[in-house]
Structures are given as C-alpha cells and as structure tokens.
Symmetry: D2
Subunit: 338 residues, 4 copies
Amino acid sequence: MVVIMKPGTSQEHVEKMISYIKDMGLDVMVNQGVDCTVLGLLGDTRLIDPDTMMLNVHVDRVMRIAEPFKKASSKFHPDKTIVKVGDAEIGKENTFTVIAGPCSVETEEQIIQVANGVKASGAKILRGGAYKPRTSPYSFQGLELQGLELLNEAKEASGLPIVTEIMSPNLVETFEEKVDIIQVGARNMQNFDLLKELGKCTKPILLKRGLSSTIEEWLMSAEYILAGGNPNVILCERGIRTFETYTRNTLDLSAIPAVKRLSHLPVVVDPSHSAGMSWMVEPLSLAAMAVGADGVIIEVHNCPEKALCDGAQSLNLPQFESLMQKMKNVGAGLGLEV
Amino acid sequence: MVVIMKPGTSQEHVEKMISYIKDMGLDVMVNQGVDCTVLGLLGDTRLIDPDTMMLNVHVDRVMRIAEPFKKASSKFHPDKTIVKVGDAEIGKENTFTVIAGPCSVETEEQIIQVANGVKASGAKILRGGAYKPRTSPYSFQGLELQGLELLNEAKEASGLPIVTEIMSPNLVETFEEKVDIIQVGARNMQNFDLLKELGKCTKPILLKRGLSSTIEEWLMSAEYILAGGNPNVILCERGIRTFETYTRNTLDLSAIPAVKRLSHLPVVVDPSHSAGMSWMVEPLSLAAMAVGADGVIIEVHNCPEKALCDGAQSLNLPQFESLMQKMKNVGAGLGLEV
Amino acid sequence: MVVIMKPGTSQEHVEKMISYIKDMGLDVMVNQGVDCTVLGLLGDTRLIDPDTMMLNVHVDRVMRIAEPFKKASSKFHPDKTIVKVGDAEIGKENTFTVIAGPCSVETEEQIIQVANGVKASGAKILRGGAYKPRTSPYSFQGLELQGLELLNEAKEASGLPIVTEIMSPNLVETFEEKVDIIQVGARNMQNFDLLKELGKCTKPILLKRGLSSTIEEWLMSAEYILAGGNPNVILCERGIRTFETYTRNTLDLSAIPAVKRLSHLPVVVDPSHSAGMSWMVEPLSLAAMAVGADGVIIEVHNCPEKALCDGAQSLNLPQFESLMQKMKNVGAGLGLEV
Amino acid sequence: MVVIMKPGTSQEHVEKMISYIKDMGLDVMVNQGVDCTVLGLLGDTRLIDPDTMMLNVHVDRVMRIAEPFKKASSKFHPDKTIVKVGDAEIGKENTFTVIAGPCSVETEEQIIQVANGVKASGAKILRGGAYKPRTSPYSFQGLELQGLELLNEAKEASGLPIVTEIMSPNLVETFEEKVDIIQVGARNMQNFDLLKELGKCTKPILLKRGLSSTIEEWLMSAEYILAGGNPNVILCERGIRTFETYTRNTLDLSAIPAVKRLSHLPVVVDPSHSAGMSWMVEPLSLAAMAVGADGVIIEVHNCPEKALCDGAQSLNLPQFESLMQKMKNVGAGLGLEV
C-alpha cells in the first residue's frame, strides 16, 4: 500500500502518519518527492482499510498494490479449486461443464421433461428458479418451496444435481438440505448477511457478479463465503450494466481471463441473461469456451404445443442439442472435454 | 404498452397474439405498418410483465408507455407525501430537512457530542451507522446492537430522532422498536425479501438508490414497500457508478427533478458518500437545495483531540455549522425554510 | 415510428399533430388509449428526426421501430459486403482475417522485420501507426508522413497491404494515395467532417467504435461513409468504457453478433487495445473467432535486443506465431479458414 | 510517479529499470516490499507517458501522483483565468455569466428576435449553431457559412458577442474572423488536430466535455489548446453517458468543484443538452450556480406563431426571463452577480 501525503504537508505531520502506520505493525519507506512525500507500507496490508488511512487530513491518496482478498487469491492458494457435484467437476483443467434448465420451475411435467432433455444432450447440472427476484412486486415471484420440491423430483428422474437461487438468510437451512449448488443472484452479490450465512454452509455456492460490480468487489464477496469456512465457490459472469441498450447487459468476457489469473476459483458464464435474446446464446457460449471459462449456465425451455414458448432468452431442446454439438466441435480445437 | 411484431409475421400469428392479449382483459388496436404490425394495448397494463410478452417468438419488441409503478406514481397519488418524524416534515413544500451524524457510531461520548452539536446548528434528525455494509469481511462491521443502544442514548440526550441502516430481514422487529427511520442502503435496494418485510413495518423507510439502478428500478423498489402497506418512503440519491474515477461516485442531481415529477415521495440527497471528499459536501449540498431536493443527509464527525479525524468525507462540527449558515442563505433565495 | 401524446392532450392538438405528420408524406394510425393517444407513423420514417417530433409540446415520447440507418442495414442490403485487399477477403463466409503489426511505426528495420514476421505466421494485412492520437500534447505524436513512407517500404518488402489511422480531413488525399485501408480511430468515430471526406474515397475504411458509442451510433457513422459513395466499410470493436478498471476497456463481444444481424458490413475485433495487457490477447482473439467476428487486428512488436520491448499490450513474434497456431485449431472446430 | 515491479522480478531487472529511469533525468527511490519492489520517481514526471513505462515486461503497474497537465493546472497557475468577451468576464469571482440562444440558427428574424430577447433578460453572450454535428447523415447539418453571417447580423442588432461550434480544422481561419468564442463540441473533444489548430487562434475556446471523458482527459484536451499558445479556454460540462435512460445524459455537477480545484480555467454548465427536457433546465441551472459554476449556456427559442416550437429542450423567451429572475434571487444568497 502506498500513501501519498498532500503537497506542503509539514514534516511533523508526516512523522505523525509514519508512527501511526508503525503502530499497526507495518514498516514504512519514505520517498521525499518534489511535490509531495510518498510512504510505502511494508507488511501484510491486506487487512488495512484504505478509507481509514484517508481519515487523516494530510493524506492525498492511498493506493493498494496488493489485492485486498486473500483466500480467493491465486497467490495464496495456487492450486485451482475444483467443485465436484454429481458427475461434474467444475474448474478441472480441460473440462467444460454445461448447466441448463428453465428460467422458472413451472410444473412437474415441464421440469422433468427439460431435465431429461438437457441430460440427454450432455448437460451435467439442472438449473431452475424457485424463488425469483423480480423488479416488480406485482410479478410472479416463483413457486418457492413447491418449486424446490419439483426440482428434487426432476433430480430423481434425471439423475442431475440441481442449482437454484436463494434470496434470504432465513432459507439457508432449507437450501442446505434440498439443493446441490446454491446460487446467489446478481442483486444479492453484496447482501453481506446472506454471504455470511452461506459461509457456514456445506453446499457449493454459485456467486453471480453484480450488475455494476468490479472484479475486485466480486472476489471480495467470494472472500466473505470463503472466510466463513465454505471453500466451494463458483463465480458466474452474467453481464454488466453499460449505456448500450441493444443487449440487455454487456457480457464482460474479458473478466474471465482476469479472474482466472487473480483467483483459483472456477468461473462460468451465463450467456442467456446477459444478452436477453435466444439467438445470441450460441455465439456467446462458444466465446465463453474460447476465452477460458469453466462452463456455461444456459436457459432451456420445453413447451412444444403452447403458443407462447421459446422465451426471449431461452433455447428449446432441439436448439440446445445443436448448441451442445457445436460446443463439442469447438471444444475439440481447444482441447476441452464438454 | 406497445407490442411490435417481427417483420414478416404471418396474419395467423398476429391474430394469435391479439387473442392472447384480449384474454388478459385488455383491448388491442392494430397498426398495420409497412415493415411490421404494431399492437397498442389498451387497459391497465401496469401489472403486465413485458418479458412475458417477449416469450412469443413473433414479438420483436415491447415498449411501455405507462410507468410500471402505481402506488409510487404521482399520477395515481397527486398529493405529495410528507413524512413527519420528530420536528421534521420531510417532503413539505418550502421545507428543507437536514439529517446529520457520524458514519459509524463509535462511543457514547462521540455520538452524544455529535448529536448535540448538529442539533445546535439546526439538524432535525441524527444519522449514525450501527450495522455497516463492508466490502471486505475483514473490515469493522459496526457496533451492531450496542450501536442501536448508543443511538438511543444520543436521541434521549439531544431530542433528535434517529435513522440507521438495516441489512437483514431478521432485524426488522428490532429496528421497528428502536429506530425512527429505517435506512435501506444502496447495496440492498433490490434485496426484495428485506423490502417485503419493511412493507409491513410502521416506521418510515429511507431508501437509497442502488449504485447502478435506474430511476424506474428505484421507484419499483419503493413500490415494494408501499405495496406491502407502509406509505412512508423517503428516497435518497447517493451517486451512481460511472467511469469517472476522480469522485467516488457521480451524484446524479438531475434524478431529483425527475423523481419529483414521477412520484409523490420525498427525496433527499447524500452528498458525503457520493463524492467521498469532505470539501465537496458544501457545493453539493447547496446544489441539492437548488435542484429541488427535500433535504440532505450529511456525515459529521467530532474528535477534537484525536490525530485522525475529519474523515475523508466527514465534516467536523464547525464546518457543519458554517454549511448550515450557507444553506440558510441560499434557502432564502429559493423560498426554503432550512 | 410511434408518437405518444401527453396524457390529457386535447383532440384539437392531436389533430394538428396528425396533419403535421401527413404533411411529411406519411400515413398515421391513431390509437386512443386510456391514458394517452398513440400515433403509429406509416411510411419511410428512416429520414425523420425524432427530435423534430419532440419539438411539439404535446408529444410525450417518440419511439423508433425501424432503425435509422439504411445503407448499412442488412434489411436493405441482404448480401454480405466482402472487402478485398491483397489476399484478404474480409467478410467472406468461413474466412477469418488476421491483421497484425506494431502500435507505432518506429524505424525501417522494425517495420520490415515485423511485416515479414507476421506474414510468415499467416497475417494477411500489416497495421502500424504513423499519425498517433495522444491524450497528451507532450506525448510522441508518431512519425507522420515519414511513417507512411516506412509502411510502404514494409509493404514492398513483405507483399502485405497496409492499414493505418487518419486523423484529419486534410490528409485524405495523401492516405488515398499511400494506404490500402484507412483507419478511423475510436476518438474520431463521430468526426463527421472526416467521415464525409472518407465517403468520397476509393479505399476501404476500417471504422473503430467510439469509447462510449452505442451500436446504433456506430452504424450511423458507417452510414455517413456509405452515403458518401464509399461502399467498403469494415467495422472494428475495440472495447467500451465502463466502471471496470482492471481492464483498460471492456471488450463488447456481444456487439459482434448484434452487428452481424443488423448490418451486412464485416466486423473485426481489436483485442490488444481493449484489454491493454498482452496476456489477454490470446483468449480474447479466440473468443472473437468463436463469437463470429470476421477477423482480428493484433499488435505485434519485434525488438529482440532492446531492454524495453514486448509492450504492455503487444505480442512478440513467437507469441504471435503461437496464437496463429491456436487460431487455426479453433478455426477448424468452427469451420473457419484462418 | 510510482512504478510497481512484478512480484518475483530479479534484482538485475530492477536495476535495469532504475538505470532506464535515471537516463530520463529523474531520481529514483527504491522500496523493497514484501511482495514486490516499488520505485518512486522524483523530478518532473509530467511529460513521461506511463504507457512507455508499461512497455517493460517486469513492470506490474504505473501510478501517477502528479496530474499529467501543467498549463491547465492550478498548481502551476494559481491565479484564476478570466475570459473577457463583450461585457462578460467569465471566471471572475462572484460573477455568473449567462449565455443563451437557439440550438440552430434558422432565419434572420429568428436569430435577431432571440438575440434581443435574451439580451433584454440579462444574457451576456449569444449562442446559436451554424455547423451542426448530427448523428445521421440525413439530418439537417446547419446553415453553415450563412448561419455565421446571420449570427453576425444578430450580434450587430443586439450588441451581444457570439459563440458557435466549429467542426473542422479547415474552418479555423473563418471562425477566427467571424466568431467571438469558438465552441468545440463533445464529439470533438479529442479531435487533436482541431485542438492543435485552435491553440494557434486568438479567440477564446469553449471546450465541451466528451460524453465519456474523464475530468483528466478533459483537462488534457484543454492542455492541447493552452500548449499551442491560446490561454483562453472555457470548460463546459454537458452531461456524461450512463445507463440511466430517463435523462438523455447525466449532468455531472460534482465535476464543477473538482475542476475548480484542479484548474484555474473557468467552467460553465449546459443544462439544456444534458437533460434533453426543457422543464429540467431551471432546476439544473440553479444547481449549477449553487455548485460553483462560472455560468450556464442555455437554449432559448422564439416562434410565437409556429405550431412546432418550444423545442424538447429549449425555453421560450418568457420562460427564460422567469429563469433569469430566479437565478438573480438565488445568486443573491450565494453572493453572485448574475
């Protein structure tokens, strides 16, 4: 950490700052510059809050050199984390895991049909929403507990483990019991009370990136879960908010190599929600593979006879089957097993 | 609501869509355009989810004409909402309410000294953090319950009502009992389970705008609380995330007249957190008055003898007193009572 | 185009608006809604400026249904544009074109060595900056005219056609004579006077997307060139500005399938500038292939003996050779010839 | 400037870097940290390009401590710049300058009527567009040279000096002769060839901030003009692009105190273009005063008999007169002469 004193700070105030830093158990190197004095802090600065430093009126700026996360960092944990659930080994080298299923669990028939369908095409995990975060209080909020039951029926029928979203710390116990991977949605990425509870959980956590979160904040939220004692976090990039309105969100694929370099945690991509358009799912899924993601989580719907189906952002089963085939072809060129 | 069918959609599929809309109890006007057919939906479309419409593969785009919120809308509730707490009447015409206090409650001496200080200068409500949302699990998380007790001591000593942040639905009962205004932080603006609980509460809610939330999403979160039965919501603009790095966040002051036009709810501005620099608090507070906000919420710290004080973004008591004086002068030109 | 009148607009003012629209040679369908009247404009609305509509005080909103571009649109020009330069056919189906070269032209030795090197690995076009847009007036502004001469020497030596950036309308004649593809940088994407001059040019234009431009604005800038009479525009995605600071810009790969659907123009990706880090060039190049781009433009440097080389974002020749090999492997899985 | 070497860099490479820096005439302080070595550069680092430093593969990050601008900096030029044009003294303490006029010059009658009208209400400078930057090649591009002539007629009739936008370096000579203040639009803020030409000009330059430009980049563009020899630059904040869609752009009023602290140059606010809605002009103008701007530039239209007038973002003359009155009242509370 580097602390830059304001231009014109008196020697007395610089000395005071130095002794303040030393009191925290750190060493200090002093650079007397032309414009200002720069202090280099030596030692484990990871636990020091830069804002606390800024409390001193003579401090101009504080710049981190080391990242603020530790348990999530590849520097302190060089071996890649591999999350094993059912047949899937998410994060294993040369492996690409496909998670698929409907946006919302609707009926027993629907979820079982989709589960069997995506399994036949090669998906390793079933997704499906039971508790739905909705912008409007008047929108359908999901089948809730009944949705969890239906997911479990589909799990039994297909053999696929299930992942679904949690929204409240009150439900952690229920999810721990009924769900294989617990998903934290983008809107709850900084719901710290929820993260703390999930840190005590034995089930893996799929942690979506917040709509306007930086990569560092995302890894700090993972750090909350890891620091609580749960080592199994899967990161999920799902698009960030920008000024572009053609796509719903802007999928930040450059975040994937960045996260793979900064952290040992596996990272998957959600191409369905970011774009919000089903015809974009295929190119974005292939790009996610090529850029180095450990997997994708894709919305797939059934409903052959209903007038309203195919969903703005969902694939139907034949489209999913075709995408799986293309992913296998591209995976071959990348040395990946899909 | 306007539904635009894809170019080349057959008459049969247009008819199907029309009957689907009519089944929802709405009327439809059909515009046969050159490129495509546009359907105008007549009736109360407020409760209809555009994404549901998009599920039909023949739909190109869905555009709302009416806003999706109702209880928060000035169209359905033309009288301004005035939230009365202690001596404050937030939202009353020609009135500007100042809320002030420290970032975190630290000690009994600190909070009482600040409470008495800001009251003497004209603040009407005391703020202070007991439960602190922190990006890092290793940062100080606040005095929690003890912080609430200290705030109540300061309330007794100064006579000022108190506002403090809640982070978990589990604490709503405690806050209902011990706090005058319950604050929802930016990171929890879309913590829908928390909003639902607060809708059942009798205390007013100060709802901060999320870091990357649109004005519409912000009002939809207010709608959650209003729809739950709690009519007293105060909106709080606290800066949005942009690419600009000089300021911590970009205070969106044009959101104030926008919200005052769209909604009957009062709206205050937080100039301390958005800029993150104490010397910006004065110009931004005066600008908040001039742009039409109903008040400001300002960080004020004491600590005369400590080496580290004045906080990066906090004013000390004399600075706050000086700001209050300037706000009174500018308020006079605007016809506002501060 | 849909025009929404303000709630409560009198019948008289609606009638006035209708006759105003009819005077522009369009037909109007009138939807009398519950809240407001919606006018559907029928005819070629592409040339109508929505802001002109907004000039009427009774108009609440104007929404485009058709895109505002015509010559750039795939609707009006269904055949893909293929730009042929040297051996390259950019935009040809199942073809992926690699453009490579140094950030700046520095010396004869440098540019010839890089040109021969990238050609040997399979690049089809040589890039190199002669006129450099620099944020600071004190930074090196490029070799300018001498740089163009050196590029031509490298062209002769290697046989590769050359692409380089233009910054002023005054230089169009010179570039027309000395350059094979003229590049418009992100900062000049809306330098309309420059675009108009390039519309009269016979050389293809590589048009980079502005740092905060929408896809629609980008295509409108292409429309300027096409409308001027030059049919050969190659679009280039190079990252947009977001709040994320880890990467220099956020490469918007979802813009590629969007542009391929909206337009017939070829689109390439610049993975070097967006990320600003050489180790990201490989994953982002492979992702660009997988997402459907027609090519990439990559920074490659030589300098075996200098201490300072390899550039923050540049590959050296062996790294480029290795990337070309991987692109060929992945291209095979995608059915692409690299 | 601080240079952070990558963790694990050998002593030999650190030494090489140090001697490289010393060759540039700077001194170096070396901080041997736990994770990495940090070099503090002492001397005038203002002219050094951080990207050049990043060319060394062993450099992890380069952080500026001093700002990269010099002539625009208040550190090197503590006296405020006051730009005198006609009766206006933009940047003079306790003075607030109002610039007003139509978006586009349309007819002699229009521009003279508006000029006389805004002068009567207290405006000091007339604005009006002759060359219009338009997103679409099919939109009206302004009256161009004829527009300049009409502006000069209005100047003669009203006595107000005129400001209008330039778009091409080819027109600098013409503008120098016919215009009192030359405006650079947001889209041309980084049209460096244009900025260089304007640096040789004797007329003041009104430099709008780019849609996604940082404050630092804005000041660097001013530096281009100042470095060329023209000391009279007026900065103009006109809104930045964010994800918010209710307002056209987000007016960044916190940029005003930031710029006033960093630079000696005057800064004005354009409340008409940023919001894009005429009813927002009043609150945003008052906020601009309160936040410390040196003036505003406001769109005002005439057209009593035309059906289409009042423009989406323009005030008519009575609205402007009313706004001037309110600005005088608020100005009194702020000690400003309007």
